[in-house]
């Protein structure tokens, strides 16, 4: 058996024997080099109650090369691409070392959810949301945890069927209504307000003309 396979098998067995971490590892397509990992969202964070899944690819030179990981569950977090699930974390790049394991790397992802690094973002728009209005950011992250990761409901979602595009974008319903009433399509309004980070203290900073200008551009 080659050393890479032996190591991965040991890591999978170690993870199965560990009942305390709640981290799972499963084969995808019966290949030990393509795995699906999952972990619960950390407590006392907007991710609490969700289960987050991660696509894991073991490179040929593992463990001498970093494992490739990306979220397949959508996550609203400054260091995770909200579109692709790509993760900005040093140990997945140049700080990787062969002493790390799949389990310890998944635990690092779990810690990343506890402590965002908005100064080194993967998703610049999410990072701006986080830095300008943390409360609103957390509300959005909680909503994403609810609709994508099976987490508990939030204020907006109670009683409403289907997904709320305004809440997904982390915007205020009233702001979207305001510009929609000028005759712009709703999805366009959401897109522009999200890009301009029309939230919290920023609302007072951005003149309405500027938004209309942007809406006319697209």
């Amino acid at each position: 058996m080659d050393a890479r396979l032996r190591r991965v098998n040991k890591e999978i067995a170690d993870c199965k024997n560990d009942k305390t971490s709640n981290i799972t590892l499963d084969l995808v397509d019966n290949s030990p080099f393509h795995l699906k990992g999952s972990f619960p969202g950390p407590e006392d964070t907007p991710y609490q109650g969700g289960i987050f899944e991660v696509d894991i690819l073991i490179p040929d030179a593992y463990p001498f090369q970093p494992v490739k990981m990306k979220f397949t569950t959508k996550v609203y977090h400054p260091n995770v691409s909200s579109a692709s699930g790509a993760i900005c974390l040093d140990i997945l790049k140049d700080a990787w070392s062969p002493v790390l394991t799949l389990k310890s790397t998944l635990i690092s992802l779990q810690s990343l959810l506890c402590s965002p690094e908005p100064n080194d973002p993967q998703d610049a728009e999410v990072a701006k949301h986080y830095t300008t209005s943390k409360g609103s950011f957390e509300e959005t992250a909680r909503y994403w945890t609810h609709i994508y990761a099976g987490g508990p409901g939030t204020k907006q979602s109670k009683g409403s069927a289907g997904r709320d595009e305004v809440a997904i974008a982390g915007l205020e319903q009233a702001h979207v209504d305001q510009f929609e009433s000028l005759g712009f399509p709703r999805n366009k309004v959401i897109d522009v307000l999200r890009r301009l980070n029309y939230r919290g203290a920023n609302v007072a900073q951005i003149p309405e003309d500027r938004i209309v200008e942007e809406l006319l551009k697209v």
């Binding site: 170690d14 990306k70 700080a95 002493v99």
Partner: protein, 310 residues
């Protein structure tokens, strides 16, 4: 072999990658780059006086050197030191003088390599009493897995690396399943195989890291971030600059490795700072060496120096 005077091509900084979200520089990095004009780009050529470079520039140069020579074999055959001299002849005369200085001390050959790991096993192989050397070496190595566990490494992380190293040392006196003992040639082949070579190098990095963490009070005062110059905690330093592959080993790491392996290491620093070439000796209190492993340091990595007697 990469001649020294081709090295100006090695970029000091990687050009920003445009390959998309996953690999590209983060928005914050880009913003940073716009805010502060980058430091005056210093073109480093063979004539550059290395002593004029800042610590951070030296570090970057070293790291660039580490990653640049991807096509060089992991370890090469012994070569006459004149080959090394030829690489520097068009450059700084101080380097050439330092090399001549080495040669006059009897160091006539060089092996370009992952130095310590190879020299460590080679010393057992070349010993005048191989069974004793194997026994001594194994007795030191057999104590190390427990030390690694003490500092928190999981057994599943290091047991494969450990057995690769132990097998190789044992093979000096005990034939393998094909009935062959280790020879100069098979040792070289083992270190040319990325899997075996990486396993041994990583195991040595883990030993270095364990020794530093087990004796944190002795090492802590000397640990600084190589780029930022700020003091660092032992654990954090080890995770970032010892465990991780491709990070250069400095004095501190050499000290730790010589202690845990109980070997003497002597390093000649070819730095072009003076005509003299200084040897720095790493001699732990408990040593099992009969003679030191002699290395040549050049910005970027270590090679093995061989005397004319070998």
């Amino acid at each position: 072999m990469i001649p020294m005077n081709s090295e100006p091509d090695v970029p000091l900084r990687d050009p920003p990658s445009q390959s998309g979200e996953e690999e590209g520089p983060s928005a914050a990095e880009q913003a940073k780059a716009i805010e502060q004009p980058p430091p005056q780009p210093v073109e480093i050529t063979a004539d550059t006086n290395l002593s004029e470079l800042s610590a951070a520039q030296m570090y970057e140069l070293n790291q660039a050197h580490e990653t640049a020579d991807v096509h060089r074999p992991l370890i090469a055959e012994i070569a006459p030191i004149a080959e090394l001299r030829a690489e520097y002849e068009n450059g700084s005369t101080l380097f050439v003088q330092q090399i001549d200085n080495l040669e006059s001390q009897g160091y006539s050959s060089i092996r370009r390599t992952r130095a310590v790991a190879f020299a460590y096993v080679e010393q057992v192989l070349k010993s005048s009493d191989p069974p004793l050397a194997v026994a001594t070496t194994l007795s030191t190595l057999e104590g190390t897995p427990a030390l690694l566990e003490t500092v928190g490494y999981q057994n599943l992380v290091f047991d494969d690396f450990y057995s690769v190293l132990v097998q190789l040392v044992r093979n000096v006196t005990i034939p393998d399943e094909l009935g062959n003992k280790l020879t100069n040639q098979t040792l070289l082949e083992a270190f040319q195989s990325p899997a075996e070579s990486n396993s041994i190098v990583v195991y040595m990095r883990m030993l270095t890291s364990a020794q530093m963490q087990l004796n944190a009070e002795n090492f802590a005062p000397f640990l600084f971030h190589p780029e930022l110059g700020e003091p660092m905690e032992v654990k954090e330093f080890c995770e970032n600059f010892v465990d991780a592959i491709g990070k250069e080993a400095d004095h501190v790491q050499m000290t730790a490795l010589s202690q845990i392996l109980r070997i003497d290491i002597s390093v000649a620093y070819l730095d072009g700072r003076s005509e003299q070439l200084d040897f720095v000796k790493f001699s732990p209190e408990e040593t099992t060496s009969s003679s030191p492993i002699v290395l040549l340091y050049r910005p970027g990595h270590y090679d093995i120096l061989e005397g004319s007697y070998s």
